[in-house]
């Protein structure tokens, strides 16, 4: 059993949680699946970097450039350690969406190059005889890049469906077959909260020689994840959902796969040699980090993972599991409220979507907001998942280390108030 989390102590590290909203209401922040709040340690790290060591990294012959490079690479090492990876297998991107595009563009770039006689790794060449597999619970960031890839190459897009309970329908695993070149799946759904058996999906992908990609945006912030052990070739996630700054995301790649991949964004910093008519590229991870990178953001994220390590990811996971159980119980007792996604606290994280009979999610969110309770409403960038459950949108509450059961109580009271206000109670 992990040690209990002292939420009141944690909250002191997050200045924003002390503010009021909509007049004099204390802020109840239940939207961490969209973005997490930032502890002072992260803000200080960014500020300190700018105040003492700011310079462009990996260039320049001066002391500041050395210090900035050390800070940037030190952050890479800290993040790598946090997910059990080697620093050389960690690529910094602007966000997870860019990470997924980096993966998808490896295929379209390789396919286009092969058509003009360049030598590329055949794993990345796609044509009409090939297929790409995702699931029906993907965030748009892990759907649209693959739709576009299929539109460019003629490959077929397939997906694994979702059961009424909100789990992947594993009877449909056979959509991954000998035609499949890439399988890209979400580890933990941002809308349903479901935690998927990605090891199973990656094993099936590898059975057919397909490249396996995992979107880990919602899992890595909330539970211990040994990234290389997921069995994927590429794993991507964002910094801002794990107490880090915006503008920084990560791709972990199996070294052999990263080395076989063509670059995504090109320009300075990612080259080996440059001539007027052609260039050769740096080895990973630099190959995928064109231009001056997000140094201060990387430093901030380095501080975020140290903060999470101090709390302990087992403690984080246990805390969120407990609060999720409490929230599911309270929501289930409310008449007229239906959970979209797993209703039991099994293989699920702390993002809970629900609908309230007779009240549109936008209106539920408005009444909650009026009481200081911040939730997300809409389709959560997972519109096809909403369609799967025949709902136009949902209200979603999501927690983190600074939430406790009293925040869930505030949300539940707000839902009851909304039901009274709209006359559906």
């Amino acid at each position: 059993m992990a040690p209990a989390l002292d939420v009141q102590r944690v909250r002191k590290d997050f200045p924003i949680l002390a503010r009021t909203v909509r007049g004099d209401k204390p802020l109840v922040y239940l939207d961490s699946a969209a973005t997490s709040q930032k502890p002072v340690a992260v803000l200080d790290a960014e500020r300190e970097f700018y105040e003492t060591s700011n310079a462009a990294v990996h260039r320049g012959a001066h002391q500041l450039a050395e210090e900035a490079t050390d800070a940037y690479e030190g952050a890479r090492a800290a993040i790598a350690r946090f997910v059990g990876a080697s620093p050389s297998d960690i690529v910094f991107t602007k966000n997870a969406t860019e990470g997924l595009n980096l993966a998808a563009y490896a295929f379209s770039n390789a396919t286009a190059k092969a058509q003009h006689g360049s030598r590329v790794d055949p794993r990345f060449i796609l044509g009409p005889q090939d297929s790409v597999v995702v699931t029906e619970m993907e965030h748009h960031a892990n759907l649209i890049p693959w739709q576009e890839l299929c539109a460019k190459t003629g490959a077929q897009l397939r997906w694994i469906g979702v059961t009424d309970e909100g789990y992947l329908n594993l009877d449909e695993l056979d959509v991954i077959d000998e035609t499949t070149k890439v399988v890209s799946v979400v580890h933990q759904s941002n809308i349903l909260g479901t935690i998927n058996p990605v090891d199973l999906l990656m094993a099936r992908a590898h059975e057919f020689g397909a490249v396996g990609v995992v979107d880990a945006c919602q899992s890595i912030p909330h539970m211990p994840v040994d990234v290389p052990a997921l069995g994927a070739d590429l794993v991507t996630w964002s910094g801002h959902k794990m107490l880090g700054p915006t503008g920084i995301g990560l791709v972990w790649g199996n070294q052999e796969v990263l080395e076989a991949m063509p670059p995504f964004l090109t320009g300075g910093s990612m080259i080996e040699t440059v001539y007027m008519d052609h260039s050769t590229f740096a080895p990973p991870p630099q190959r995928f980090e064109a231009g001056v990178p997000m140094v201060a953001q990387a430093v901030g994220l380095g501080a975020a993972v140290r903060y999470l390590e101090d709390v302990g990811m087992d403690t984080v996971a246990q805390h969120e599991h407990d609060i999720t159980g409490y929230a599911l119980d309270r929501l289930e007792q409310l008449p007229g409220v239906r959970i979209i996604g797993p209703a039991s606290n099994v293989s699920r994280g702390s993002a809970i979507s629900f609908v309230v009979d007779g009240i549109h999610p936008h209106d539920v969110g408005q009444i909650l907001d009026d009481r200081g309770v911040a939730v997300r409403v809409g389709h959560h960038c997972a519109w096809p998942t909403c369609r799967r459950f025949n709902v136009p949108a949902t209200t979603r509450l999501s927690t983190y280390i600074y939430n406790d059961n009293s925040d869930i109580d505030a949300a539940v009271e707000g839902i009851v108030a909304a039901q009274e206000f709209f006359g559906v109670a």
Binding site: D370, P392, A393
Partner: protein, 156 residues
């Protein structure tokens, strides 16, 4: 509930949401437009035609939040059998009101129940909801060739 949220959800809005007026598309529309708010999935379809007397007929369908659906109901009630000049006045007044950040003092003679949406203009995230049917109207009437400038020029 706070005064702000009460101002947002005026009785008139809630009433139109619960009891939408004249819902349904018109059969032989000259123009029709489907509009969606991609951030929340609200949907409204508006269809229009002019009759032989130059009066507008407007139909709508939709699903979504109270603000978007009440706005469609209010709009259709206000504009049904209105002259093109009145449609132009109402459209301009509604758009102006929604961009006023709560400062507008709308004219009930022009906007009818539409004045109830003045409070919505204080909530940036909800302005799009209230405007959705009006955006559909604008697009539908363009498709039907109902243009204000032309009409005003010939009139005046």
């Amino acid at each position: 509930m706070s005064g702000n949220v009460e101002a947002l959800y005026q009785e008139i809005i809630l009433d139109h949401y619960k009891y939408p007026r004249g819902k349904g598309l018109i059969a032989d529309a000259a123009g029709e437009s489907f509009q969606v708010n991609p951030t929340c999935g609200d949907e409204v379809t508006v269809s229009v035609k002019l009759d032989d007397h130059g009066h507008l007929h407007v139909g709508y369908e939709g699903q979504g939040c109270s603000i978007s659906q009440a706005s469609a109901s209010v709009m259709s009630e206000l504009l049904e059998e209105a002259s093109v000049a009145d449609v132009a006045r109402a459209e301009r007044a509604f758009l102006e009101m929604m961009h006023s950040k709560g400062a507008a003092e709308p004219d009930e003679d022009v906007l009818g129940d539409g004045v109830a949406f003045a409070g919505v203009s204080k909530y940036p995230a909800r302005i799009k909801c209230a405007l959705l049917p009006w955006m559909a109207l604008q697009d539908a009437r363009h498709k039907a060739g109902i243009e204000f400038d032309k009409v005003e020029k010939t009139e005046g």
